[in-house]
Symmetry: C2
Subunit: 214 residues, 2 copies
DNA sequence: CCATCCAGTAAACAACCGTTCTCTTAACTT
DNA sequence: AAGTTAAGAGAACGGTTGTTTACTGGATGG
């Protein structure tokens, strides 16, 4: 198999990817709803009209960016969830993965954090859907752990959402810390993230004891 | 005292407020970096050039909006923190306050959620600073509670950040649920938020026990 | 009462925008 | 080899943008 795909389509996908890359670069310092079509094509080096051969909208390009941005993180965390080590080790490894990912794809993280509540409805929706699937996977992984014995399904789900949310927030904070230039800022974020996850983990272990007073 | 302030300055503050209101309204469906100066003045009904009598920038207007948006929530939560009831009651009341606040000032919440990672540096910074002061206040309140006996200061701080972050996230989620039109969505968010706070509270109570295995 | 101040007006500016055409040219099909 | 397809070029369009200028007219304070 592996049909050579044709010179034609190959070139098309190449400039399509160039459009995505250019847009992602520009979005490091502005938001999608203020991004100009001409601005993007100018960076790529093609005529403005050529844009329409690939996307009918900047919103459509945005949705494509969402898939690209969340795809890689998706597999990485899935790998972590499959592991079977202790809670403490898992926390350390999770945070380490997030840290590495932020360093490897800072523009992707920026984009997601920025457009999650941004001005383009379609993109917001795409991110929400993707994060939802993400939470569902986390929930499935949590459920198969012995600590979750006797948990209600929606309690597992709420815990999964708490985790996912924390990962996204941590990634964004880490990014901010990195570009602030302050030397120890990033390490501080990592430390805080680990302890927050630890606290959540502790809460999880005592969740079923019920009787809680001030 | 209460000097009548002068007809002159009163009128000026009036149109200044009108500019803020108009901008906030427009920002319900776009982000600050795509908002046009003329767009705002058109809504208010004044000439574009008159804008410069009040702000030199749309960024400056944005910073003013940050103060307006976070000011009210600030006092409300401060009131809650001062209370001395049990953990469970405090959680319920906190979530209730957030819910009421979202309903009362939805545009403020939208704005904060959107511009927290938005495209205008000055506004991002203003929000970060404000949320930082917020976390500091929460930390102070947490410290004076008996549960915090023997806690390290930076552990209290990390808990405070966890709480603040959760409130902001919950507010944004609640807003999304409201405008989605789905009937039970908002209640679901409230329920989830309460349980997440409860889990964090449980983790807090067992924080010092240390020994945790999977 | 009169001179000063200043919030807002009106017009003009060059720069940029998204979108629509027609045309070219190279890759594909048969 | 001839005919078809489609990515991209290039120019033109009406419209909007931020900013600057000179101005008006009513509140302000001596």
């Amino acid at each position: 198999m592996s049909h050579t795909l044709g010179v034609r389509q190959a070139q098309k996908q190449k400039t399509r990817q160039a459009l995505l890359d250019a847009a992602l670069g520009l979005l490091a310092e502005q938001s999608l709803s203020s991004l100009g079509l001409r601005e993007v094509t100018r960076v790529v080096g093609i005529a403005p009209a050529a844009f329409y051969r690939h996307f009918k909208d900047l919103g459509e390009l945005g949705v494509a960016l969402v898939e690209e941005a969340l795809g890689s993180l998706h597999v990485m965390v899935r790998a972590i969830l499959a592991e079977q080590d202790g809670a403490e080790e898992r926390i350390d490894r999770t945070v380490a993965v997030v840290e590495r990912h932020v360093r490897a794809y800072p523009l992707h993280i920026r984009f997601i954090a920025r457009e999650r509540h941004g001005g383009v409805r379609a993109v917001r929706q795409a991110i929400a859907d993707e994060l939802d699937r993400f939470a569902e996977e986390v929930a499935a992984a949590l459920k198969s752990q012995p600590v979750s014995e006797g948990w209600r399904d929606d309690d597992i789900r709420m815990l999964a959402e708490l985790y996912v949310d924390r990962l996204v927030t941590t990634a964004a904070a880490l990014l901010d810390a990195d570009e602030d230039g302050a030397p120890g800022a990033a390490d501080q974020v990592v430390l805080t993230a680990r302890r927050q996850l630890r606290l959540i983990s502790i809460g999880r272990q005592h969740w079923q004891e019920e009787g809680d007073l001030s």
